[in-house]
């Protein structure tokens, strides 16, 4: 039985995640958006910044998604929005994962005072109202997407740290880690070679599930005037423009659908990925904080 398993496992590993129809849908949507961000939005004939059209035109033959309050083409802005929203949310998630992950790993591995210090700071960040923290940071640094990302980074690393810490604590007592240390590997080797590869997957799944949340949070900050700086096309900022012009529903709906599609896509993928993890690690992911 084990032999058979052994032969088939490596070839089936990725498809196992992707066999789920929801995961296929998710992956295709993400691929599509990457294509849009990298290619299509650059060669799109209509300038997303040009204020050359009649204002607030409803969707029609000339402007499929209509025009906004400054007479810009909503379709080209939605496409161009992928260039800011996608990379920034990915950046945010990756940074939060690296920062939170490293701190969590250090806390979990070394324990004692280091653990206490790092985790109490994380608790504090948790206890402090996220939006206030983000707003104060954004207000202090000035609104810009980069600063919004920094603000969100500061408030979002602790959930990664918590997950990572509990994973590392679980793993550091593992017999293969102890065996490694008995063979003389130092703390760094032990963390890097023995622990990290075994706890990375749940962290990555958590990150996948977080990409959507990141886009939403950034758009929320944009809505509050603390995120994207005009005229940069950004989905969140566009949706918040649409709130001002609520009757011109197309201003908000199309970027909103874009956000929805990306969030759904990443969640579908993350879900499928998590389901394909073994139950014990999946456990840790589901115990994540918000």
């Amino acid at each position: 039985m084990s032999l058979e398993q052994g032969l088939t496992r490596p070839r089936f590993r990725l498809p196992a995640t992707l066999r789920n129809p929801m995961a296929v849908v998710g992956a295709s949507i993400i691929l599509l958006w990457i294509l849009v961000a990298a290619v299509i939005s650059h060669i799109w004939p209509v300038d997303p910044l040009a204020q050359n059209f009649d204002r607030l035109l409803p969707p029609g033959a000339a402007h499929w998604f209509g025009t906004d309050q400054l007479g810009r083409d909503v379709l080209s802005r939605t496409l161009a929005g992928s260039q800011t929203s996608l990379p920034l949310s990915l950046l945010l998630v990756v940074c939060a994962m690296i920062l939170g992950g490293s701190l969590g790993a250090i806390a979990g591995y070394f324990g004692k005072a280091i653990d206490e210090t790092i985790m109490r700071i994380a608790d504090l960040v948790f206890a402090f109202p996220t939006i206030i923290l983000a707003m104060v940071i954004a207000a202090a640094l000035g609104p810009s997407l980069t600063n919004a990302v920094i603000a969100m980074l500061i408030v979002s690393w602790p959930s990664y740290a918590r997950v990572m810490r509990s994973l590392v604590i679980g793993a550091r007592g593992s017999e293969y880690v102890i065996a490694g240390r008995l063979m003389g590997s130092g703390a760094f080797t032990s963390l890097w070679r023995d622990i990290l590869p075994n706890v990375l997957a749940p962290l990555l799944v958590l990150a996948t599930l977080d990409v959507g949340t990141a886009i939403l949070l950034l758009s929320g900050l944009s809505f509050l005037g603390l995120g994207a700086v005009p005229p940069t096309p950004d989905w969140g900022a566009m949706v918040s423009d649409g709130v001002q012009q609520f009757s011109s529903w197309w201003i908000a709906v199309f970027p909103g659908l874009a956000i929805l599609s990306v969030v759904l896509a990443f969640n579908f993928l993350g879900d499928a990925w998590r389901d394909s993890l073994d139950p014990r690690t999946a456990d840790a992911v589901q115990g994540r904080a918000i």
Binding site: S2, Q5, R9, E175, Y176, I178, A179, G184, S185
Partner: protein, 276 residues
């Protein structure tokens, strides 16, 4: 196979455990003395069995010997030098001669690394550079050299345990500790793996501390046996003596409780009732 010539009295003593005590601070401040004044000694090419019920402190003793558990009192000398507790720093060179094979075959190998490279880690420690190579070791434990490029999940529990043994032997240890290395294996495998471990340890001239709750198996591979109960050693001596003429009441009960596969339907002896 039982009771080969006991290691000569002249062989050098590699491990001396002198009256060690290990206490755990449990959540809620109550202290628990898991090991309470245990003394053991072990020579080269000797197999010492440590048996006892679950929770009696066998693993804790083993961990203390490796320096994984800080001692409350007593000392552990390895090759005459004290074993210092394993801190977050790299383990001191002279202690690399102590290696351990763990209970859980599913957890004792890094699931993300090929077994070949994990065995190589062990070989890197060996003072005699060319004492072994990976292929030899694999063959020694009954695996095929081509298995070196596989990952642990591609092996069964018994196979993994043999890989773990190969890795430990590869380091050329002076002291090999098996903490219930066979407990989670299939009945049909237990005996084979235990015997393999003994053979390899003796062949390499190491001492073997073999921990198990199964006295029946320990009896087949150990030279001497120590019976542990609630943190203390109840009885220690040559395995035949303990097996046939146990002196402590506890050892007797333990022996009596082992069901014998003789087909006679004889129920094992009852333990005395204990209050928790």
């Amino acid at each position: 196979m039982t009771n080969e010539t006991p290691a000569g009295d002249g062989a050098e003593e590699i491990l001396a455990v002198n009256d060690i005590t290990v206490t755990y601070r449990r959540p809620g401040r109550s202290l628990l003395t898991a090991v309470d004044g245990v003394s053991l000694s072990l020579r080269r090419s000797e197999v010492l069995g440590l048996v006892g019920e679950s929770g009696c402190g066998k693993s804790t003793t083993a961990r203390a010997v490796c320096g994984l558990e800080p001692l409350t009192s007593g000392s552990v000398l390895f090759n005459g030098e004290p074993v210092s507790p394993l801190s977050m720093k790299r383990r001191p060179k002279h202690l690399l001669g102590i290696q351990m094979v763990f209970q859980n075959p599913y957890a004792s190998l890094n699931p993300r690394r090929r077994i070949g490279s994990q065995i190589e880690d062990g070989l890197g420690l060996n003072r005699q550079r060319d004492a072994w190579n990976v292929n030899e070791l694999l063959e020694k434990v009954g695996l095929h050299p081509s298995d070196r490029d596989k990952y642990p999940h591609q092996f069964s529990g018994g196979q993994r345990q043999r890989i773990a043994i190969a890795r430990a032997i590869g380091t050329g240890p002076d002291l090999l500790i098996g903490d219930e290395p066979i407990a989670s294996l299939d009945a049909s495998l237990q005996q084979r793996v235990a015997a393999l471990m003994r053979d390899l340890a003796i062949q390499a001239g190491s001492g073997l501390l073999f921990i198990s709750h199964d006295l029946a198996i320990v009896r087949t591979i150990a030279d001497r046996v120590a019976v542990m109960n609630r943190g203390i050693i109840e009885e220690e001596g040559p395995v035949d003596t303990v097996w046939r003429h146990p002196t402590s009441a506890y050892a007797r009960r333990l022996l009596a409780a082992i069901p014998v596969a003789d087909g006679l339907g004889k129920l094992p002896g009852l333990p005395t009732r204990r209050q928790n």
